[in-house]
């Protein structure tokens, strides 16, 4: 257990060289070795989804992954969503506008889950979004406003895309 591994991780576009025990989870490495504490840990057995991050664009449970497993992947955490000056992304703004968070502990997981899903399925219906939101646990909101926020963001992104396409064709 004193064995250590040299691990090279790419997180939010930045490269990190780490010397860590192989049993260290990605969630612990992100939070405690890299100081990216936005990713939260709620159950450590892959059910609650508070630790959801994007691994090569796909939502994944950082508590179920050893950091040594994702050396050659691009990892994104909640810290990557807002602008450099802290300006909220469209998805984050939708969560605020719809009161999609209360205590905020599950929120980074839901944001990364939604970010990954909307990139893959920009045309997701409300029912599909509800099904995806059912991947994670929230104890405060009753989920409705989280679904509202993600649906609103999907609509805004589609409208923006249409506007861009209309601009191109005009």
């Amino acid at each position: 257990m004193t064995d250590v591994a040299l691990v090279e991780l790419t997180v939010n576009g930045e490269r990190h060289d780490l010397v860590i025990p192989p049993r260290r989870t990605l969630a612990d490495v992100l939070r405690h070795d890299l100081g990216l504490t936005g990713t939260h840990v709620g159950c450590e057995h892959g059910i609650c989804g508070a630790c959801t991050v994007l691994v090569d664009g796909a939502p994944a449970r950082a508590c179920l992954i050893f950091a040594v497993q994702v050396e050659n992947s691009a990892i994104r955490t909640v810290e990557s969503l807002s602008g450099p000056d802290g300006e909220l992304s469209d998805l984050q703004s939708c969560f605020a506008e719809h009161h999609g968070l209360q205590c905020g502990f599950c929120t980074p997981g839901f944001l990364m889950l939604a970010e990954g899903h909307l990139a893959e399925s920009p045309d997701a219906t409300r029912e599909e979004i509800r099904e995806v939101v059912a991947s994670n646990l929230c104890r405060c909101t009753g989920y409705q406003t989280i679904v509202d926020a993600v649906e609103d963001c999907a609509g805004r992104r589609r409208a923006a895309l249409r506007a861009r396409l209309d601009g191109v064709s005009a």
């Binding site: 709620g42 955490t77 802290g86 009161h99 502990f105 980074p108 646990l137 679904v147």
Partner: protein
């Protein structure tokens, strides 16, 4: 341009302004307790009992100390801490005092009880250390069920309570109640059990403690709803002066009551930090949270009610037994559930005669704490089942039976010696039924083989208990008042302390709205300080829907006092009478024909004190307290639930949920709706899904989310919310509490809807959770 979210009349209260908590929480820049890292910090893990009930023969930590990374390991004898003891001022026949040791000594009383703490350089090594502990236990017969507790055949959980009963009260017993039952047209009964639940904040419990040599203080950062109470207990257990302990609450990932009692692990971690002079972090893992934390809700009701032929209730009798697990919690004691149920069960109905016995039994299961709603989800469910059963027996419409009995004249003095302030009990029921009718749910059938059921629940909840109300429960530690200090800075902005504590409820926003209106400031010029025992004189924290009613009113009172100071100063500077001054609502004070802005006044108060009146000291600060007099204020609601029940599988899907709520004036309507929706989700969880199950040996059978089913967006429906507004006469802005109502109403509405869907089968279910298997089994047993 208008301020964002400011109401057209220029006030902040009542506007759903952007939450001030959101930006940091959305960007991952909040600071929860596990986000805190201190230099040379150690990580704690606990050696826990593997038996539910056993004598401790030995705890050998010698091999633990050999594990790489482990720095120290302590058992109860090593730390020599005082016990945690919560008391009621009740005679011995009503209350048996027991204590909870910080670490178990001679005996363990539940599987998961902490026996020793291991400190290591990282949490992985701490877990390795726990594995190396050698604990010798001599098992005793465990007391696992209420029946076993009351039978008291084997060794008792606590020697002080040979009958395993910690609280036993018989209350009210209206004269002549037996005659009423004997002569009534109809008497209906309900026997109901409710499953043991976990409040389940998504952030588990945790602490980072360090001895600060410069301050001479033990600084404890912990996610608690009651920081001052943690300070008191920690100081007592560790033998420190209160001033030597500072409890600071970082961002907090929910509590729901589980964090409004003082836990043992934070005290052990703090003691270890003191001993080792190194910071110590303990973060509860989910397995510990599900098995060894504070649980709630396991109750057994045997109730009956007498009715006239027209459906008028004549009498109510109830026997309530609450399985409180192994220990009494601080500060509420094991009386928290039975005393709440006994005091308030008649609820929203005009019950002329009442008799109740409430008991707390102790068992070899993890202890209990108050959980959102505290007994009210249970007794409301029983009351609403009694109403439904009476309607069936009498051939009446169940809503008409309720209407006949609802309290409609206020203030109403109940048979339970509580005075109810005005509410909209009847109106909320009428509106809820109207909404479901207009949406086309009533009388509807499904064409997919499933049966539709509609259920209601009517209830009120006392919010903002004052010290008088808690004193009536005979708690030795009596919560109630709250205290705020407000200070205006040189730039005219203000900072307000509150003894309440937001952990998702948005107080940084709503309290700022309350204060902003009193001083005519934008709400972002008001900073709220909460959760720090060094910065707040004293506080009771947040529980029992008390924050806005009590804490908000104290903050408002402090702001008004500061306003008076500003007017007095303006009167002096403007050389006019006090009566000729007024706050101008725009951050200034009119004094005769002059106006002084707040920065101008603050400039004098701080930088040009020679201009102050002779009898006025420098600075601008005021302190005020608030306590709810009398019996508090009651929020109310009616919930309506529509389910589709599949007779082939027993599956229940909630198709529609309507909540008509009245919490007086909503400071921030969207926050109120969020509280209602989240509360309803937790109520549905208790009605259909969640249960902490133990085997006959007292081993917990639901140690992970694989076994403890927390509902997701797939099970929780969208909720339509309608607001009614009956302002409270004595709180700031007329607000009533809004934190618990959703959870209180949902189990009854869901259970009644399930029973409505079963109405043609003869099956009636009165206990929760009503799992799919329960319904399936009940339907199989129906004679063909």
């Amino acid at each position: 341009m208008a301020e964002p979210g400011l109401r057209t009349d220029g006030t902040w209260v009542g506007a759903s302004v952007p939450r001030r908590e959101d930006p940091r929480l959305l960007t991952g820049r909040g600071r929860f307790v596990d986000d805190i890292t201190l230099p040379r910090m150690l990580h704690a893990a606990f050696v826990r009992s593997t038996e539910a009930h056993a004598r401790v023969l030995s705890v050998d930590l010698s091999q633990v100390r050999e594990v790489p990374g482990v720095v120290a390991a302590f058992d109860a004898a090593d730390l020599a801490l005082g016990d945690i003891t919560a008391l009621l001022d009740r005679p011995t026949e009503e209350f048996t005092p027991t204590s909870m040791p910080v670490l178990a000594r001679d005996k363990v009383r539940y599987a998961g009880e902490p026996l020793a703490v291991v400190l290591a350089t990282d949490p992985y090594a701490a877990e390795d250390g726990v594995e190396a502990a050698l604990v010798e236990l001599d098992p005793l017969d465990p007391v696992v069920t209420e029946a076993a507790a009351l039978a008291a055949a084997g060794p008792p959980v606590h020697d002080e309570a040979p009958g395993n009963v910690l609280v036993d009260v018989s209350l009210f017993a209206t004269e002549g109640i037996d005659d009423v039952f004997d002569t009534a047209h109809t008497v209906v009964g309900v026997e109901a059990r409710t499953g043991r639940q976990n409040a389940l904040p998504l952030e588990t419990r945790g602490v980072v403690a360090e001895w600060d040599d410069r301050a001479g203080q033990l600084v404890v950062r912990t996610c608690t709803q009651v920081p001052h109470q943690v300070r008191t207990v920690l100081a007592r257990c560790a033998g420190l002066d209160e001033g030597r302990v500072r409890v600071v609450v970082p961002d907090m990932g929910g509590g729901f009551g589980q964090k409004c009692v003082v836990g043992r692990e934070e005290i052990a971690a703090a003691a270890a930090a003191t001993r080792l002079r190194r910071p110590v972090k303990w973060i509860e893992d989910r397995r510990e949270a599900l098995t060894a934390s504070f649980l709630a809700r396991e109750q057994h009701y045997t109730a009956r009610a007498a009715f006239t032929a027209e459906g008028e209730i004549l009498a109510l009798e109830s026997d309530v037994v609450c399985d409180m697990g192994a220990y009494s919690c601080y500060p509420f004691t094991a009386g928290i559930e039975p005393l709440m149920a006994s005091a308030e069960m008649p609820g929203v109905y005009r019950v002329p005669a009442y008799r109740v016995r409430g008991r707390a039994v102790t068992t070899n299961k993890a202890p209990t704490a108050p959980y959102r709603g505290v007994s009210r989800p249970q007794y409301v469910m029983v009351m609403e089942r009694l109403m439904e059963r009476a309607a069936r027996e009498l051939g009446l419409d169940p809503l008409d039976v309720r209407r006949r009995n609802l309290i409609t004249e206020f203030p109403y003095r109940g048979v339970n010696a509580i005075t109810y302030d005005p509410g909209s009990y009847r109106e909320s029921l009428d509106l809820c039924e109207q909404v479901l009718r207009e949406e086309g749910w009533l009388g509807r059938t499904l064409d997919d083989g499933r049966v539709l059921g509609v259920g209601y629940s009517c209830f009120s909840e006392r919010t903002g208990y004052g010290s008088g109300a808690f004193a009536a429960r005979k708690m030795q530690v009596v919560p109630g008042f709250d205290l705020s200090q407000i200070t205006m800075d040189l730039d005219g902005t203000v900072t307000v302390t509150t003894g309440t504590l937001s952990h998702g409820q948005s107080h940084e926003t709503t309290f700022a709205q309350i204060v902003a209106d009193r001083l005519g400031l934008p709400y972002d010029k008001v900073t709220i300080v909460q959760g720090d025992t060094d910065r707040i004189t004293y506080g009771w924290g947040s529980f029992a829907s008390r924050s806005v009613t009590v804490g908000g009113s104290a903050a408002a009172a402090a702001a008004l006092k500061l306003g008076d100071q500003l007017r007095a100063l303006a009167a002096h500077l403007g050389e006019v009478d006090l009566d000729s001054t007024a706050l101008d609502g725009r951050g200034g004070v009119r004094a005769g024909d002059r106006t002084f802005t707040y920065p101008e006044l603050a400039d004098v108060a701080y930088l040009r004190a020679h201009l102050l009146p002779k009898d006025v000291g420098p600075g601008l600060t005021a302190t005020a307290s608030f306590d709810v007099g009398g019996d508090g204020t009651f929020s109310n609601a009616t919930h309506g639930c529509v389910v589709a029940l599949d007779p082939g599988t027993g599956g229940v899907e909630i198709l529609r949920y309507v909540c008509v709520e009245d919490c007086g004036v909503a400071i921030h309507p969207r926050v109120v709706e969020g509280q209602a929706r989240g509360g309803i989700a937790q109520g549905i969880a208790g009605a259909l899904f969640e249960q902490v199950v133990y085997d006959e040996a007292g081993q917990p059978l639901a140690p992970s989310f694989m076994e403890y089913k927390v509902p997701t967006a797939a099970e929780i429906p969208d909720v339509r919310i309608e607001h009614l507004e009956t302002p409270c006469a004595f709180t700031a802005d007329g607000a009533k509490g809004a934190g618990e109502g959703g959870t209180i109403g949902a189990p009854a509405a869901v259970l009644n809807a399930v029973n409505d869907a079963l109405r043609h089968t003869g099956v009636e279910l009165d206990s929760t959770p009503v799992a799919r298997s329960t319904i399936f089994q009940a339907l199989r047993e129906v004679p063909a």
